[in-house]
Symmetry: C2
Subunit: 582 residues, 2 copies
């Protein structure tokens, strides 16, 4: 029941070859409505995230056209909505920003290259069936990263909301200092627009849908109106600035002229120096983007009893990013809120994404002049409200209560991102999680057990009233045996022997041992020798089938003696004359 | 039964405070004989290893005095023989050699500093009870490293045996090229001495003791004579060169003048630049040295039912290295052959090491002029024969047969050391082992099980003829649930649901789950929600006590419902109306 299969059918590699020819008319209404609602969300969001990434707004729109079609062709999810997202936009800013100034032609060119590299990495990982690599990003590391990124993103938008200019800084604590010293130059009109936008967005998101429901508006219409907050603040903000001339009279910064027309065909400039410089960030983007996307896709698919193939998802996201790099975009991935809206609005097939893409084409062809007077503060407000929910104190408290070691990995990532940068933070987090995991398994729970009454049950002598034999110890190890804990087992057994001079037999109960790697096997063979030279015999009990198969194949069982391996602890004790706890 | 204790007694911190006041006269004969035999081995070996490390021969002798006393005071092993060893000498050469030319005053100063840093690291790790870090060096990584190091060391000694001079090179494949092009300049007299020495050493090691036994020489005397090979070749080689004047007539390179007198008091020069440069190598030395030493100490102690404390060993080795750095030595650790000889010759207490140290003092005070005519080829031969046994093809074949993933980690280390350098090789090996371990556990064995006949046993439906229910699946996962495999479990369960439209209940059998980390808990909670929204209920069975305690503490059991967790799979199936495989 593993996730890998040796044979992959054509329709699995190119899902559109299956769903498009078999398209049912009855699915069309749902797909069109969902495609429209996602487009209404996506137009303002994509411009806002492009601004967050240090890119002109049209780049966000361009990244919302061909990448969506590419995902519709290759993706295994029926409802995932691909496009610019906050986290990946931040990663773009932090990596490209180290080599070029935001908004410049060089910056845009590097963002295209970044999308290409990230796409190639995802495509290659998918083709090589390496989806498992994403497992390195454990839940605590993701929570730590997301919460820190929410702070970094929120702080980065304050300059738009306050209408001040600050120089770009690497670390958020420096940025906060810069902002505080620039506060006297706050543009009060801009700030008013920003605060009103935030208030309106929160109202739409958290209260409006419930109020509409109470007014007996049908549920799906109420939900759709609740999602249109970004569009409403964009329209209102633009109208106010245009009608009152706030851009000239009060120096409110506006988006300005957005080029009209189809996305340009762009060919990323593949020079080795830039590729090397962007590679670490592209690795992080491909993994973080994939993790975010697959989680959403899996959750949404399971509700409909549909399947998601992790490696196919890598291929589809890779295709989307490569498409973005050739059509003037920047790195994309599956987004949470838009995908949920897509599914909730009745999307049945990836056609809804293609409809969204068509509507964005209409936007870039005809509607961009409408955004000329759009205040940047409104886009900043959209980003701030979108990421505010990502700061996840609840998960931290939960993880802290459940496992201190996991909480340490979370905090290491969180402060790593805040004090250094995203790559270092994630690196520290992943390393910490690995070391702590090994530390935990390197000190497995090892219990000396004894017989409960006259039964065949054996329990921990420290927790239960049990009968024991002075000459025979039964030791249960509650972990697979591998390099990190082989020495711990050796110490435990040899110390038991050193402490009990009467001890003659040790029965090692392997009921919790799912595998024995070669380090542990080597240690086990050495322990047997060491115990023998100390006059103590070792026996095994309850060895699992697959473990036993491997031990047999290497000749261990022959050397050790099959008669020294017992099906149950009870049989071992009977054999050793310890049947009634004497 | 863990290895850490919160209270540590004084005699555990300073074992000499226990064994010396209680010293028994009856132990003295054994300690004196063992001390003498180890000294006879140590004098030539310590000079040979110093030469291998790029240091003058007296440095090896100096490293064999105070460090031995320091270990005798702090060590928890009664018979471990500390001093210069091949592996650590090679590490010293490769790390210090990057910053200074062998034999220069600067080189010697850096070697002292390296000993100090490695000692401080060991001391600190011991004090912080961080002995578990050594577990990162898995058996395959150690075998790969040792085998590659044996080649590097062997190649490095060829120039002494052929009597040629080659410039120092980083990689062994470069060194072999250098040696081949220098072969026309071979000194045939030197080569003859080298080959005869190697032959004699092999004869002593492998044949002489057996022959003496056949001649009815008592066993312990025969064994002792067998160990004196190095001393014999040193005496013979020195005598020949001196008597025949080979150093002048045939340009045979000799050791030359060794200063007479006690080791100098040296104070390592602690400047931040050198410390930073040597830090990675010092880390590797402290870990590799400790790993080698603790393995030997554990093996020897177990035969006598004595205890070894890993953290105390770190403290003792740290003290030895710090002692070496203040008395003109270089990094040391416990050596395999000398420790085995020490134990085999009847050493009862660490007094034997103190006796060895006293005899080395006698050597540096009075006997160094005897080594003036000692040919370098003899020392080279001693090193080559000592390391030849470290090339471990047998372990490689064994590991390859047992586990391909472990063999990959071994080969990665082996070629990493040969093609790059030791630090990079070990880094690659440790990283590979970790990734492969996670890969293995990220795809755990997951079996759908069914009832065997009318019993309460449940086995894999693919391996056994069992009864199943179409509406209820029992799924057994054979691994702890943690971040690397949480997603795999989720995929398996959701795919099972997507493939079987009749499925209504899943029983997850947790008999092999020793822990659930917060990533897996988060996934489990999500899976429960996802299954519920797909109309499938999840139940747990056979959850272990410690896992259940943690799940209760975080409120999972209350949310999930204690009635959904069953003691056994049988009870779960009965409850779900699947009692007789209907």
């Amino acid at each position: 029941m593993g996730s890998s299969r040796s044979k992959i059918s054509f329709s699995e590699l190119l899902p559109i070859a299956e769903w498009l020819p078999g398209y049912k008319k009855s699915d069309l209404a749902g797909d069109m409505l969902a495609g429209l609602i996602v487009a209404i969300m996506l137009v303002p969001q994509s411009m806002a995230y492009a601004m967050l990434a240090g890119l002109p707004p049209q780049v966000g729109l361009y990244a919302s056209i061909v990448p969506l079609v590419a995902y519709a062709a290759f993706g295994s999810s029926k409802v995932l909505a691909v496009g610019p997202v906050a986290m990946v936009s931040l990663l773009t800013l932090s990596s490209v920003g180290a080599y070029a100034r935001g908004g410049t032609a060089e910056f845009i060119a590097l963002a295209l290259l970044l999308a290409l590299i990230a796409g190639i990495i995802q495509l290659a990982m998918g083709a090589a069936r390496l989806g498992f690599f994403v497992n390195f990003l454990s839940h605590p590391v993701l929570v730590g990263f997301t919460s820190a990124a929410a702070i970094v993103i929120g702080v980065s938008q304050l300059k738009h909301i306050f209408g001040i200019s600050v120089s770009r800084t690497e670390q958020p604590y420096q940025a906060i200092g810069e902002i505080i010293s620039a506060l006297p130059g706050t543009n009060s009109v801009t700030l008013t627009i920003g605060i009103l936008s935030i208030g309106l967005l929160i109202y739409f998101r958290s209260f409006l849908a419930k109020q509409l429901l109470r007014l007996r508006v049908p549920e799906n219409i109420a939900a759709s109106i609740g999602k249109a907050g970004a569009l409403v603040v964009v329209l209102l903000g633009t109208a106010f600035v245009w009608l009152l001339g706030l851009d000239m009279a009060n120096s409110v910064k506006i988006v300005g002229a957005i080029p009209t027309g189809l996305p340009p065909l762009t060919i990323p400039d593949l020079n080795i120096e830039d590729v090397t410089a962007l590679l670490p960030a592209a690795m992080i983007i491909s993994l973080v983007g994939f993790t975010e996307s697959i989680s959403i896709a899996t959750t949404l698919a399971s509700r409909r009893r549909q399947k998601i193939d992790a490696n196919q998802e890598l291929i589809a996201l890779g295709a989307s990013n490569i498409a973005a790099s050739f059509t003037g975009g920047y790195p994309v991935t599956g987004g949470l809120s838009r995908s949920a809206v897509n599914a909730g609005s009745g999307a049945n097939t990836p056609l809804s994404s293609i409809i969204t893409a068509v509507l964005i084409v209409v936007t870039v062809l005809f509607l961009t002049p409408l955004f000329y007077f759009l205040p940047q503060a409104v886009l900043g407000a959209i980003v701030v409200v979108a990421v505010a929910g990502l700061f996840d104190l609840k998960s931290f408290v939960h993880i802290w209560r459940y496992s201190k070691t996991d909480a340490i990995a979370l905090l290491a990532t969180f402060f790593g991102v805040l004090l250094f940068n995203i790559e270092v933070g994630i690196g520290i987090g992943v390393g910490t999680a690995l070391v702590l995991y090994l530390y935990r398994t390197s000190r497995p729970h090892i219990a000396v057990v004894g017989r409960v009454g006259k039964t065949e049950h054996f329990r921990n002598i420290n927790r239960h009233k049990v009968d024991v034999c002075p000459e025979t110890h039964a030791v249960r190890i509650d972990e697979s045996l591998y390099f990190a804990n082989a020495r711990s087992l050796e110490n435990t057994l040899l110390n038991a022997v050193a402490e009990n001079k009467e001890l003659k037999n040790i029965v090692l109960i392997c009921s919790a041992v799912n595998q024995i790697d070669s380090s542990a096997l080597e240690t086990l063979e050495r322990v047997i020798d060491e115990l023998r030279s100390a006059g103590v015999r070792l026996f095994l009990a309850e060895v699992k089938g697959p473990v036993m198969d491997r031990l047999k194949s290497i000749g261990f069982v022959d050397r050790f003696g099959e008669e020294n391996i017992f099906l149950s602890t009870h049989l071992a004790f009977e054999h050793l004359g310890c049947a009634n706890g004497v």
